[in-house]
Symmetry: C2
Amino acid sequence: MTGGNKNDKVNMKTLAKELNLSTATISKAMRDSYDISHETKLRVMEAARRLNYVPNAYASSLRKQSSNTIAIIIPEIADSFFSQAINGIESIIAPQKYHALIYLTHDSYEREASMFNDLASGRVDGVIMSVASSTQDTGHIKKLQETGTPIVFFDRVCEDVTADKIITDDYNSAYNAAVHLLLAGCKNISLVTISGYPSILSAREQGYRDALNNNGFTTDDTRVVTCSNKYMGENVNEIKAHLTTVKPDGIIATVEQLATATYLACDELKLQIPGDVKVVCFTNQITAAILNPPLTTVLQPAYDMGKQAAEILFSRLSGRLIESEQELVMPSQLVARASTAS
Amino acid sequence: MTGGNKNDKVNMKTLAKELNLSTATISKAMRDSYDISHETKLRVMEAARRLNYVPNAYASSLRKQSSNTIAIIIPEIADSFFSQAINGIESIIAPQKYHALIYLTHDSYEREASMFNDLASGRVDGVIMSVASSTQDTGHIKKLQETGTPIVFFDRVCEDVTADKIITDDYNSAYNAAVHLLLAGCKNISLVTISGYPSILSAREQGYRDALNNNGFTTDDTRVVTCSNKYMGENVNEIKAHLTTVKPDGIIATVEQLATATYLACDELKLQIPGDVKVVCFTNQITAAILNPPLTTVLQPAYDMGKQAAEILFSRLSGRLIESEQELVMPSQLVARASTAS
DNA sequence: ATGAAAGCGCTAACAG
DNA sequence: CTGTTAGCGCTTTCAT
């Protein structure tokens, strides 16, 4: 360890001394202020480079009461939808020299609430989030909002929180997915979903129910499999049990993690897709096209949703956006593949 | 917006006034210091809760010269290996109340270097990283190390930087993958890889070459397809061209993103896997088992690698670990599936 | 165009 | 056990 971490610590004072200027002048020069002469700026820049000077982020944040940092709060990172959304967010914030703190709730309300409590520390200027599936009470979110920290939701939004929201048309997407299965000849369609409160889950379920009901089918609750956990093995078992007892000829899976579980369940029961059961899943997995069989998906514009969320958050931060909170609905796309072929 | 962001800002002074104590006492009470009476601590806690007091993170960081924040610097987030590794990192840092800033290099040296320059601002206490494939010069990394910021590499390490490193045995994994293909009857094995400098790429290539050479096969450079970009379409075309001209009967793909490209290339050329070409890929994709056909993978312990990286970083940060930097080699696992069946 | 000085909110000596 | 004091490094009036 070369450990030059104590003595050669170079700050504004060092620079000021080096150039016979005040720290105020250095500060202004570094930020390219209008009332510093061009020549002085050049001298400052040169010295900064030469001495490896980088302004201390926390001193600056403390003084300015703003941090150029946002929080991304999501349930899970090993998920194509969320990781693509992060790419979208990053595409906007990185050029602006903003920083992203990432927090994973693992769908736990307790963790989410604890994270929000911490964020009141002024650590971030704003938040982009997808709420945990187990979150019902939203007091923690409203409390942070009250401190003046803007929050933008994407995908898993909270209905009872007033904030900017980026979603896809979950109701229609599910409705269309169900119609797609009906047109493929299914008479007996089940929904495989996860437990939780976010409105996107109920919207997807309602879209599924309405599509069936509007087309002469009934939808009793036995046709809805609610996977209660994230352990692949248990989900597979729940789905297998359903396939064995209810014998659906079509399945709509509402979240990405259920795609693999559904395929494995069919596999283990030697059920053919799409012969015995047709499957469509809400997922952004890039491998959907090369699955056995290729999976019909409801594809969300994850990258663009992240981009939009970041852009709206920036508008709020800059004060440019003063209108009331908006809900932006972006289009999902049903990509038909062999898993739903007639 | 209830906007209580100005007037009711509650800090230590507020609390001190409220309780007729000094800010020093508040500070110590909040941190559960031994020289504060139990009773006072309770009063402080109560008041803190009542007034929604949360210590300002930046004031604390500035004063303590440490931020309880680390940086995770990776090439890409929409990648199973990296997102699983992040889960591993998070499992260690979250309970310790550490925060993670995430930076994506998109494999660009310029972005990586610029990020490292910024980190000299004291924003983070340490770094966990996987280097960009285009990074050859490592000056930016060494420069940050010289400020005393510990860096732990995982997977894509820099050979010429002295630091803690968590890797898998890339040479042997590739060697074994090649042997696996030979045993499956391949006579004509190609490597599909990406351009770049990280030693894991050359190790994987060397393992492949040695396995063939040691078993009586030659490995000329025409058998190595170097995909130069990340646009799926172009990669598919490069692989198709190779399949058409060289006609390999076995393929080893060195990184996750090449799995889908390879499958699509075979698909478009109507080549059967494993009949015409057998395929094995370094990937952690959960869908490997349900691909058409199920894909033989070299599975890295991504979650545990992230965990280890975080644990070692914490040892460094706490000063517990004083020995010289270590390289921890963790085992990969060859998971044989139908894509390499004889 | 530059500088002096105050202070962001917290912590760590040190005194009492 | 509690308080006083001096900063951490920066930004921002306000003078000059």
